[in-house]
Symmetry: C2
Subunit: 542 residues, 2 copies
C-alpha cells in the first residue's frame, strides 16, 4: 500500500490471502525485523480495507484516513493515565502550559525541517491564507516566543502533530500523533536547562515503568567539528552526512560507510576516519579520552562540544541518572535546527534479538539491562526512539525581524510508541477486560414502568456526586441490568421495587458478592458513600 | 477584513485609525450590538496585523492563522479546571471516552451540514486521499459507530473542530475551537437518554457557576408538522424556513416575517400563521394548550413532537431542572441531521441590555434571573448559545451499507464561549495575576557557583514528589530568586550556602511571611511535606 489514491478498488479476500502468504514467506526467509514489520503492517492495512460483499456496489468506503485511527475507550483510559503522569512530571519541574493552533501559516513552517518538509500536510487554498498542519510543537513554540517577544519561559505542550510519512501502525508510527513537549527558553551561561530536560525524560520513563531504557547524548558542535573540521567534509554536506551517521542505531557501520562513499561520494579514508569516532559510546572516561585526542581537539567546535558533554555528564551524576545516560557519537538527529547538546531515549527491550534494530543498543548500553527476554517481549519493546530533543538557539531568531536570539532547549516525548506498549501491558494485567467507565452504582428495578422511580434515585445520587447509571429502557429485565453492572465492574446496585417504595427503603446489592440488604431510603447516599470508600480501597482497578 | 487572501499588504497605522473612527461612528449611530461587535473585532484584527516599520521589507508577517489564537498559560489554567469539571460530569453519568482523527475523508463529511458545508476546511490534494478537517464531533462519532457496528454506546469526546466561519473573536467565535460532546447511541423506547443529555447540560453549567441560564427545548417533528403539515410549506423549503425561525432568538418577529415573505416567497398569511405558534414559550401548560389545538393536532408529526416534549418536561421535573428548561417553539437549530427533540442552552446575563441579542431571552425566560446588572456584565454574558444538541436517529444509518439505523441523541458544549467568560471572571478574582505554575519550593543560594548543591537538593525534592524549581543561572542573585518565588506565589524557599553545608542543614524560608529557620538537611523533605500540607489548606489559590 503505497501513498497512492485512497479510492483504489477495495482489496478482495484473494488479495489479502496473497499478502498473508507473502508475509509468511518473508518471515521464513529470516528477513530483518523491519521488513517483517512493514509487510505485516501492509497485511493489516489490507485486511482493514476489506469490506463486505454488499458494499462493493460503488458505495462509500467507510474508513478513517490512512495513517490515522480512532482511539477506543480502553485506549483512552490508558492515555488519560499516561498523560496525567507526564503532566505531573512537567508540573513538578515548574512548567506552565500553552496551546497553539493545529495549523500555521505555511510560511512559518517553511525552511525548518530540511528534507522532511515534503511530509508537511498542506491545507487547500480556499481563498484565504495559505495554511499547513503543524509538523511538530517546537516550531509553533518558537513562533509563539518570537511573536510575543518572550525571552524566558518554561512550558509544556501536549498536542497532535501531522506528518505525511509512511505509516507503520504496528510499530506505533502514525500520520496523526500526540507529542508531549517540554522546553526552556532563556539565556543561561550553564547547561542546567539542558540537563533538566534529560532528567525529565528519565522521570517520565521511570514513572511509566517502561523497563530499561537509555538516553543517548551527543553534541551538534562535536559532530560538526569532527565531520567538517577534522575530516574536511564540506559544510554544505554536513546535514546529509549526519543523517547517514544517525542510521548507526539501526544499521551496521559497513552499510553506513557504503552509503557515505557510494551515494554521497565521500572519500573512503574520510569515511573510515569518521567511522573510528562515530562508533564510540561511553561515559566521562570517553570524554576524557577524546579531550586527549590531539587531532580532534585541534578543532574549537569539537572541544566546545566535548566540554558541554562533560558538564552534562557531571550534572547527570548529581541527578542520579548516570546509569541511564550514554554519550554516543553516532547520535545525530535529523532536524536542522539543533545547535548544541542533543539526546534521544530508546527502550532496551531485550538482548536476544537477532535483528539490527534499536535494541542492539542494549548490547552496547549501560549494562543495566542484561536479563534475557523471550522474542515476543523483545519485539514488543522494539519501538525505537521514544523521546528526543536538544538545544536550538537560533530557531526563535529566525522569526524575529532583528534575528534576536532566544536560546532554547527542549525535549519531545513520542507518546504513541509508549502508549502502544503500555496499552498491551495494561490489557494483559486485566486479562483483556479493561474498565472504561468509572460508574459506582447502577439503579435497577425488576418492576415494569418504574423508570420515574429509577430516575428519582439517580438524581439523588448524581446530586451527591456519586457516579450512577441506569437502564434507558422503560421496562428493562433485572438480569440485563445486573449483567451490565458485572460486565462493567460497577461495584453496587441500588434496587427499587414496589415493596421498597412501600417500606421507604432501597435494596443495596454488592455486585461482586451478590449480597443484598435493605437500607432506609434516607440513608442511601451516606451508606453508599461509606461503602464506596471501602470498595475503592479494596478492589480498585488501579 | 473579508475572507480574502492573507498576504494582503500589511495595514498601515492610517488604515487602523480609519477603522477606529468607523467603529466610533457605528457606536454613536446606535447600531445594534452585533454590528458594533463585528466592527470592533475587525478593528482588533487590523491592529493585530499592524507590524513594525522595519518588517515591511518583504519579511514574513508573524502571526497565527485568522480566526485562531494561541492559548496563554493563564488561559490554560482555566481550561484545565473547566474541562476537568466537564469530564467529571460526563463520568458521573457513566460515559466512556473516544477520540477520532482531526481530519476525515472528505466523503464522510459531505452531505451532512447543508448550507454550512461551505465552511469545511479542505486539505490540499497531495497525491493521497481527499481529506477535510472535522466540522463537529457528531459526524465522526456516527462514522465511528457505523464502521465498528456499534449499536449502543455512551461516550464523551473533547476535541477541536474547524469552521471557516467569519470569526468574532471578541465573542468567543473562532475557526478552531473545542467542543465537548456527550452522546448516547441505542434503540430505547422512552426518552430517557434525551433527558439525561439535558440534565448533563444543567449539571455542567451549574458546576461552572456561570450564573443564570435557560435550556430551550423544541422538537423537529413538531416544527415540521407545523410548518409543512399545518401551514402547507413545501417540504423542500422546510430547512430554509427553519433557519429563519431560528433567528427569533436574535431578531424581532417582524424581521423574521419579512425574511420569510420577501426573501423566501412565503405567502403573508402563511407567515402569520407560523408566527402565532413560533413565538410561544412556556412549560407543561403550553404543551397542554397546544395538544388542545385542533388544527395543529390534525397533524401526526405535531402530536408526536408534543407528546415527546410532554414526556421530557415530566422527566425534567423528576430531575429537578424544570426551572431551567423552557419549551420554545422558535428553536430550530441549523443542522440537517436532527430528527427529534432539540435543545439549546443560553446564558441569561442581564435584563437591561438594549440590544436585540440573546439576552432578550431573559425577558421571556424562566423568571429565574431578573436581577438588574450593569451594561458591562450584560455584555460579558452576551455569549449566545453555549450548548446544544438533540436527537439524530438517521445519521449513523447514512454510513451503513444497509442503512441500518442506530438512534442517537447528544449534546455539545460550546466551551470557548464559556471559557472567555470564566477566564475574565477568574482573572478578576485574582486581581489580574493568575498563578500558572504549581511550584511549591524554590531552591536558592546566595553563594557563587553553588549550582551543584542546588541541583542536589532539587533532585532530593523531585524524588520526593515535591514541585521544585531553581534558577538556571550559575550565579543567580538571591534577590532575583526570591522575587521569582514571590511573583509566582511559590510558598517556600530552601536556601543553601557555605554555612548550611558545614552545619548539615538548610534554611527554610516562608516566602509570604519572610520567616526563616534552619532545619536539619535530613529532615528537609519531611518538614516540607508537613508545611505544604498546611500551606495548601490555608492559602491555596482556590
Amino acid at each position: 500500500m503505497n501513498d497512492g489514491p485512497a479510492y483504489n478498488p477495495c482489496p478482495s479476500q484473494e488479495d489479502v490471502s496473497k499478502k498473508a502468504n507473502l508475509v509468511g514467506n518473508v518471515k521464513k526467509s529470516k528477513a530483518d525485523q523491519a521488513q517483517i514489520d512493514e509487510e505485516t503492517a501492509k497485511l493489516l492495512a489490507l485486511k482493514a480495507q476489506l469490506v463486505p460483499q454488499e458494499k462493493k456496489s460503488g458505495k462509500m468506503v467507510l474508513k478513517y484516513p490512512k495513517g490515522t485511527r480512532d482511539i477506543e475507550p480502553h485506549q483512552m483510559v490508558v492515555r488519560e493515565k499516561v498523560m496525567g503522569k507526564i503532566i505531573e512530571v512537567f508540573k513538578r519541574h515548574g512548567a506552565e502550559s500553552i496551546d497553539t493552533p493545529v495549523f500555521e501559516l505555511k510560511e512559518v513552517l517553511t525552511g525548518k525541517y530540511g528534507e522532511d518538509s515534503k511530509l508537511i500536510y498542506d491545507l487547500a487554498d480556499q481563498g484565504g491564507e495559505i495554511l499547513a498542519l503543524r509538523y511538530d510543537l517546537t516550531v509553533p513554540f518558537a513562533r509563539y516566543c518570537a511573536m510575543n517577544k518572550i525571552k524566558t519561559i518554561k512550558r509544556y505542550h501536549i498536542g497532535k502533530v501531522y506528518r505525511r510519512d509512511n505509516p507503520a501502525m504496528s510499530r506505533g508510527r502514525f500520520r496523526e500523533f500526540y507529542q508531549c513537549d517540554f522546553d526552556i527558553a532563556g539565556q543561561y551561561e550553564g547547561l542546567l536547562p539542558d540537563c533538566e530536560c534529560i532528567k525529565i525524560v528519565c522521570e517520565i520513563l521511570d514513572s511509566l515503568d517502561v523497563g530499561c531504557y537509555c538516553v543517548k547524548i551527543n553534541h551538534r558542535k562535536l559532530l560538526e567539528g569532527l565531520v567538517v573540521g577534522v575530516c574536511g567534509v564540506p559544510a554544505a554536506s554536513f546535514n546529509s552526512i549526519s543523517s547517514s551517521i544517525d542510521k548507526l542505531d539501526k544499521q551496521q557501520w559497513e552499510e553506513v560507510r557504503e552509503e557515505m562513499v557510494k551515494e554521497k561520494q565521500m572519500l573512503p579514508h574520510t569515511a573510515d576516519k569518521i567511522g573510528t569516532f562515530v562508533q564510540l559510546k561511553g561515559g566521562r572516561d570517553l570524554v576524557e579520552k577524546l579531550l586527549a585526542d590531539e587531532e580532534l581537539c585541534a578543532n574549537k567546535n569539537a572541544i566546545a562540544g566535548l566540554k558541554d558533554i562533560q558538564t552534562i555528564l557531571e550534572f547527570c551524576e548529581v541527578l542520579s541518572i548516570s546509569d541511564k545516560v550514554s554519550f554516543d557519537m553516532s547520535l545525530a538527529r535529523g532536524l536542522d535546527y539543533y545547535t548544541g547538546v542533543i539526546y534521544e531515549a530508546v527502550l532496551l527491550g531485550g538482548t536476544e534479538s537477532t535483528n539490527t534494530t534499536d535494541d542492539t543498543a542494549a548490547e552496547n548500553g549501560t549494562g543495566d539491562c542484561n536479563e534475557p527476554s523471550d522474542g515476543e517481549e523483545a519485539a514488543a519493546a522494539n519501538v525505537g526512539s521514544i523521546a528526543g530533543g536538544g538545544r536550538y538557539d537560533n530557531l526563535v531568531g529566525m522569526f524575529d525581524s532583528k534575528h534576536q536570539k532566544v536560546p532554547c532547549v527542549g525535549v519531545s516525548i513520542g507518546i504513541e510508541r509508549l502508549l502502544s506498549m503500555i496499552e498491551r501491558r495494561e490489557m494483559e494485567k486485566v486479562g483483556g477486560k479493561m474498565r472504561t467507565v468509572e460508574t459506582e452504582v447502577i439503579v435497577a428495578s425488576a418492576q415494569k414502568r418504574f423508570h420515574l422511580h429509577r430516575l428519582t434515585l439517580c438524581n439523588e445520587l448524581w446530586t451527591a456526586g456519586i457516579k450512577t447509571e441506569f437502564s434507558y429502557k422503560v421496562n428493562p429485565r433485572m438480569l440485563d441490568q445486573l449483567q451490565y453492572a458485572e460486565d462493567n465492574l460497577i461495584p453496587w446496585a441500588v434496587i427499587v421495587g414496589e415493596s421498597e417504595i412501600q417500606e421507604g427503603c432501597v435494596t443495596l446489592r454488592n455486585i461482586q458478592t451478590r449480597q443484598e440488604e435493605k437500607i432506609a431510603r434516607a440513608d442511601m447516599v451516606s451508606v453508599l458513600k461509606q461503602r464506596l470508600q471501602s470498595t475503592l480501597s479494596c478492589s480498585a482497578t488501579q
